[in-house]
Symmetry: C2
Subunit: 358 residues, 2 copies
DNA sequence: CTGAAAGCGCTTACAG
DNA sequence: CTGAAAGCGCTTACAG
């Protein structure tokens, strides 16, 4: 064992304390404040540890404690305001619990998602998953048994895995109700990518609200993929149509902004000639002209809650029954839908809650 | 050892293979494709591993291999476009090398930075550090010896630690030269936070270019902190001054945007009454009206290069001599400085390189 | 209160 | 080509 006392040239391990004639057991107890150690001895050990810049080898430690204190976070991407905010919320909640974050991206590929999940399995205490490609089968095949898992914005696990999602349906529903209340009857929807859970829920909200608040009106759904460019194309499509909608509700802000550019280029004035609304309330939304009416999602909160749920599941011994939590959204009314003008100040945007039971 | 064959109810470890009458050594060789194993046996082992969803315990593995295949990334925050882009660049470069990312934030506190660095030391193969609070002493006290480290946008380590930075000086210099070339003589600078390395370099660039291209002009430096609100206040200050500058160069885009709002509110037209420029080229820059002239920083590239350097240092046996790499910037000329109007299209912004030897 | 020993799951010489 | 054994750094009963 003493062959390992190589701290002068190499890394520092607990065994260097042998040089101080201490047993690793005592050192371990002193460092972890577990078990009893004479205050004097403890102080000396701490001192030596500090001088030597001793840092415990986490691999060795988790080998025996069966804890890594690390959470695996699997996301489609880390790019853009949405993920940035989401990670921020997760990070904040994790710091509070002294948990580390191992982050991996899948770039929208199911195979990469599976690989990432497997690669993380041996090194984390729990998993936070978000991916458009998650389905029950993929989860069953790749998530290690008994590894606590929480899904974000996904219904992949259906009833079998815990999930935290945004109330896409309620938000879209409230927005269409608002547009209808302004007198618009022809309300078009620029949809998100086919197969995407969020997008589907938003379409459902649009559809139901339209049916309810504008009886007899026909749906107009324009294809999109959540990216700015697809909103731009949708805008051009709207310009070219013979019977233009009076209002356009895009499934997210980036598409609404792309659409705004197309409409403005085409000579239409928003909101005078046509109303426009988005979804997400990304920071950009208040900066475009006119400022964008949208549905606010507390993205950071979404991440924070997901982490809290996961932490709770990790702490409980028994495999907890999976709970689904749904975060409500807020209507943010700005200038682009014509309901009111947005003053150019730093005052917080007007919000109207769309609370809805989960 | 056989007490561990508990895969039916618990986690799956390599020892479950005992049930197949195989030694862990053979299983290890088969799984890692190291050493020789009969193709037939190997296939069978792989099959069992797959059926059992076996995932190696990374702690145990790195205990012996002395590799975690994980990089520690310490950032001030994960919020906002800058960090989002930076992480994206790091992530992209890491995936290619099959490295995992352990991410931690310091929220601008030196103590948190130290804690984060120490907490990571035992669980990573290398460190990527960015923090306004890094100094040589903090690094020496907290970074484990022989742990390869690369600093991002910091000169903390001076000559002793490898670093990748943006050419703040050159970018600011080029911008002021550009503003001077448009005929502006009174050019003000809204500075970043005091003590911040990036901010200091940008001031230096402003100062030197002003001296060189507008001989006799006096400096006008307004305090700021990189946040939008401080730019807004700077704008109000400019409005109130008796001899207004002809051009304002903000040390980053967010302050430029805050300033823009103040100036517009105050009745000034940008760029007709006053020219405005920023630094960073965040996505928002092209969306404000008028679109913002700025200095483009390839943020993702910054992250990617930092990771590449780190990976290289990790692979080399000898403690490599620390190299400092400086990324050049590009001038992005849009409408806000009056040099030209920006058309509202999706065409890429005009860029002029400000190449400069590192 | 402290130390010697066992063992966490894995890999790697070393035998056979 | 395969297996038995040692050992990575740590923690935790178990003695003393």
């Amino acid at each position: 064992l003493s062959t390992n006392a190589n701290y002068s040239h190499e890394n520092v391990y607990i065994t260097v304390f042998f040089e101080e004639n201490r047993s690793v057991a005592t050192v371990s107890r002193a460092l972890n404040a577990t078990g009893v150690v004479t205050p004097k001895l403890k102080q000396k050990i701490l001192q030596v540890a500090s001088r030597l810049q001793y840092v415990p080898n986490s691999g060795a430690r988790s080998l025996i404690t069966r804890r890594t204190h690390t959470i695996g976070v699997v996301l489609p991407d880390v790019y853009g305001e949405f993920f940035s905010e989401l990670i921020r919320g997760i990070d904040l909640a994790a710091r509070g619990r002294k948990l580390h974050l191992l982050i991996s991206t899948t770039h929208g590929s199911a195979e990469e998602a599976a690989t990432a999940i497997r690669a993380m399995s041996g090194r984390v205490d729990g998993l936070l998953l978000m991916s458009p490609h998650l389905d029950t089968q993929l989860l069953r095949d790749n998530v290690a048994r008994n590894l606590p898992t929480v899904l974000i914005n996904s219904n992949a696990g259906a009833k079998s895995v815990a999930a935290v999602s945004v109330d896409h349906y309620g938000g879209a529903f409230a927005m269409v109700r608002h547009l209808a209340s302004l007198g618009h009857r022809r309300i078009a929807h620029i949809a998100g990518p086919v197969g995407n859970f969020d997008a589907k829920e938003r379409i459902r909200g649009y559809r139901d609200a339209l049916k309810k608040f504008v009886p007899g009106a026909s749906e107009q759904i324009i294809a999109g993929d959540f990216r700015e460019e697809s909103g731009y194309r949708a805008g051009q499509e709207i310009l070219a149509s013979n019977r233009r909608p009076q209002a356009v509700f895009a499934a997210n802000d980036m598409m609404a902004i792309g659409c705004l550019y197309a409409l403005t280029q085409g000579g239409l004035r928003v909101p005078d000639d046509i109303a426009l609304a988005g979804f997400d309330d990304i920071p950009l939304a208040r900066f475009v002209t006119p400022a964008l009416t949208t549905v606010r999602v507390e993205i950071a909160d979404l991440g924070g809650r997901a982490l809290s749920r996961l932490a709770a599941a990790m702490e409980s011994e028994a495999p907890s029954t999976p709970v689904s939590e749904i975060l409500h959204t807020d209507l943010v009314i700005r200038a682009s839908c014509g309901a009111r003008r947005s003053p150019k100040t730093f005052a917080p945007a007007v919000r109207r809650s769309t609370k809805r039971k989960a």
